[in-house]
């Protein structure tokens, strides 16, 4: 399960993620962090069974968290199964099935957006 931590200037000085790891004992994995002085977001991979506790621990500390049900969404009406998106994905989310249609292992997505830019048919959007 992926969650997005929305970082605001007031929480940046705190070791928020470290605190949550210590409190919950959950093995968090930072997939992507995009934080500028004015704030930003961190995508964190959370073990499925610990998700509720982790989210609660963040919220308790005043952080805004969103859960990504579908980190990357493909519009099958627009997709032509070319596979152009495959080679730009850093985590190997996208692959061909045996019949050359395209499948996505969305759990691996870190929402970098590279495939969205690559897709010639505007078929992909990053989930919010």
């Amino acid at each position: 399960m992926k969650i997005t931590l929305h970082v605001t200037p007031d929480i940046t000085p705190r070791p928020l993620i470290a605190e949550v790891i210590l409190e919950t004992g959950a093995l968090l994995n930072i997939d992507r962090a995009d934080v500028k002085p004015k704030g930003g977001e961190v995508v964190i991979d959370v073990p499925h069974d610990e998700c509720d506790r982790v989210v609660a621990a963040f919220k308790k500390r005043g952080a805004t968290i969103t859960c990504l049900k579908l980190p990357i969404i493909k519009d099958d009406d627009e997709c032509v199964n070319c596979g152009a998106c495959i080679s730009v994905c850093p985590t190997g989310v996208i692959s061909f099935r045996d019949d050359w249609s395209v499948q996505m292992d969305v759990d691996k997505c870190v929402q970098c957006g590279a495939c969205v830019t690559m897709c010639p048919h505007g078929a992909l959007t990053v989930g919010k």
């Binding site: 032509v80 199964n81 070319c82 152009a84 080679s87 692959s95 019949d99 690559m118 010639p120």
Partner: protein
């Protein structure tokens, strides 16, 4: 065996006894029966390809307005079409971009929307004549409201296509998609085993008058495509077909980020197996078709060839480049190429599609695809750069650098090492910032170390683009030892362009 004729085959289509397979099924059949046996057994092999074909478009006849207009310029959904034809004829090309939406929407999307039956806004202007007095026209139409809508594509169905990668250190946005830096990925195009011309590389059955499956309609090959290059196995076709009969599934507008729009066109060509030679040619496999891997990091006509690969290797998902395994992506859809070859096979078996006799073969060897004749020398960096450059030794103070810049009355000061190698650059603006922050002592702390440079032999257009990309106004020109040979500024380039 004497071989078959098109008439024999068409008679079999009529009585339902025709034997059709796709080009993917054929290699095994030829391996088992041999070319002679396969030619006896199989009547038609269907091919298919579905990918971006930029040289595509459509002729439209809009019907006369009242009062009538002789369109001088016309826009469809804000995309300009060519109107230098009779009064209300226009040609909408796939790569023309929308005036208001830019790369997001282009001629290709207009064509897709027409085929999908959507409304298209038309705006036309004219100078007005005695016979065509009207000067402005605005209306909205669908494909059913206009007279002819004929897809006419000057260059489609490349026999095969070179593979793209990028050895430079920045991301490139090309018609081969996003190319990640440092050979981060590889993109390719073409249907390989299903590619129409690869299955008939001597054009025994594909030529002027061949009836083809064109985006769901029955269309025709009308001649050699532009840039047809049989000598290098890069044959192309010119094709046409009725847009009104087409299926949206196989006509798809596309946008290549940072490049522009293109049209995904679906083409299927039936290859009548008239003799053993033709049967043998259709046994081609992905492993038999070889293409060059080019470095798009070099923006010149001749890009360096990194290696050769087969479609079999490309389709495996990884290829080796300089000892590293790199992920590949097709830009064309093999899934849909297969669907097209399959659909064409069904149409023939159902008796609704009949292959035709050639009127004329495509030109074979002897045709050479020439590069452009350019008159006048292309100016290079050496022609434009300032050769007298003042530099400063690293380790000096900001104060000193400020003095040098003041005295010389310029903006960019290259910083060099003791061995006279370029190590950084400093601008008047860097100095102003440093002074404001009271960082006056060491130059090395405030200079830019990752200096973007040019070399003397590079064409001006390439350097101009580099300046634009990095949003800077000057580049030091260095030799291969990074010794500063000169400096080239955007002002120098603008002056030259103004003179051209």
């Amino acid at each position: 065996m004497a071989g078959k004729t098109i008439q024999d085959i068409n008679a079999k289509i009529k009585d339902g006894s025709v034997h059709v397979v796709t080009a993917e099924e054929m290699p095994d059949i030829v391996a088992e029966l041999g070319p002679d046996g396969a030619a006896k057994e199989i009547d038609i092999v269907t091919t298919g390809t579905f990918g971006a074909m930029c040289s595509s478009g459509a002729f439209l006849n809009l019907g006369h307005s009242d009062p009538p207009i002789k369109m001088q310029k016309v826009w469809l959904n804000d995309v300009e079409a060519y109107a230098g034809l009779a009064a209300i004829d226009a040609y909408i090309g796939a790569t023309q971009l929308s005036k208001s939406r830019g790369m997001e929407y282009g001629g290709a999307h207009v064509i897709e929307d027409l085929v999908a039956g959507k409304s298209i806004d038309i705006h036309a202007t004219a100078y007005g004549t005695d016979c065509y007095p009207r000067k402005v026209l605005d209306t909205t139409v669908t494909i059913d409201d206009i007279n002819q809508a004929t897809m006419f594509n000057p260059r489609n169905g490349y026999q095969k296509y070179n593979v793209a990668t990028n050895c430079s250190n920045r991301t490139l946005y090309t018609y081969m998609g996003t190319l990640l830096p440092d050979c981060g990925n590889v993109t390719y195009s073409g249907a390989g085993v299903l590619s129409p011309i690869s299955n008939d590389p001597t054009y025994q059955t594909i030529g002027v008058g061949s009836r083809i499956f064109l985006c769901g309609a029955q269309g025709y090959v009308t001649g050699q495509g532009t840039q047809h290059d049989p000598t290098n196995d890069f044959a192309t076709m010119m094709v046409q077909g009725d847009l009104k009969q087409m299926d949206k599934k196989f006509v798809r507008g596309a946008t290549f980020h940072g490049y522009g729009t293109s049209l995904y066109v679906g083409i299927g060509i039936p290859i009548p197996i008239l003799n053993a030679d033709i049967a043998k040619a259709t046994a081609v496999t992905d492993a038999d078709i070889t293409v060059d891997v080019l470095d798009y990091g070099v923006a010149r006509r001749s890009r360096p060839v990194l290696r050769q690969v087969t479609y079999e290797e490309l389709k495996s998902g990884m290829i080796d480049i300089n000892g590293r395994e790199i992920t590949t992506s097709p830009m064309s859809s093999f899934h849909d190429a297969r669907a097209i070859a399959g659909e064409l096979k069904d149409l023939i078996q159902k008796g609704t599609f009949y292959p035709t006799l050639l009127v004329e073969r495509l030109p074979g060897t002897g045709v050479v695809c020439k590069p452009m004749k350019q008159i006048g020398e292309q100016p290079t960096v050496a022609d434009v750069m300032a050769k007298r450059v003042i530099t400063i030794l690293q380790g000096q103070t900001v104060e000193n650098a400020a003095k040098v810049i003041m005295e010389g009355n310029f903006n960019h000061l290259p910083v060099v090492s003791d061995e006279d190698r370029l190590v950084g650059i400093i601008t008047a603006w860097d100095i102003a910032k440093a002074v404001a922050k009271n960082k006056r002592d060491k130059l090395d702390d405030i200079m830019t170390r990752a200096v973007v440079t040019a070399d003397t032999s590079e064409p001006i257009d390439i350097v101009a683009r580099r300046l634009e990309q990095h949003n800077i106004s000057a580049l030091p020109v260095v030799d291969k030892h990074r010794r500063v040979m000169g400096i080239i500024t955007s002002d120098d380039i603008s002056k030259l362009v103004a003179r051209r």
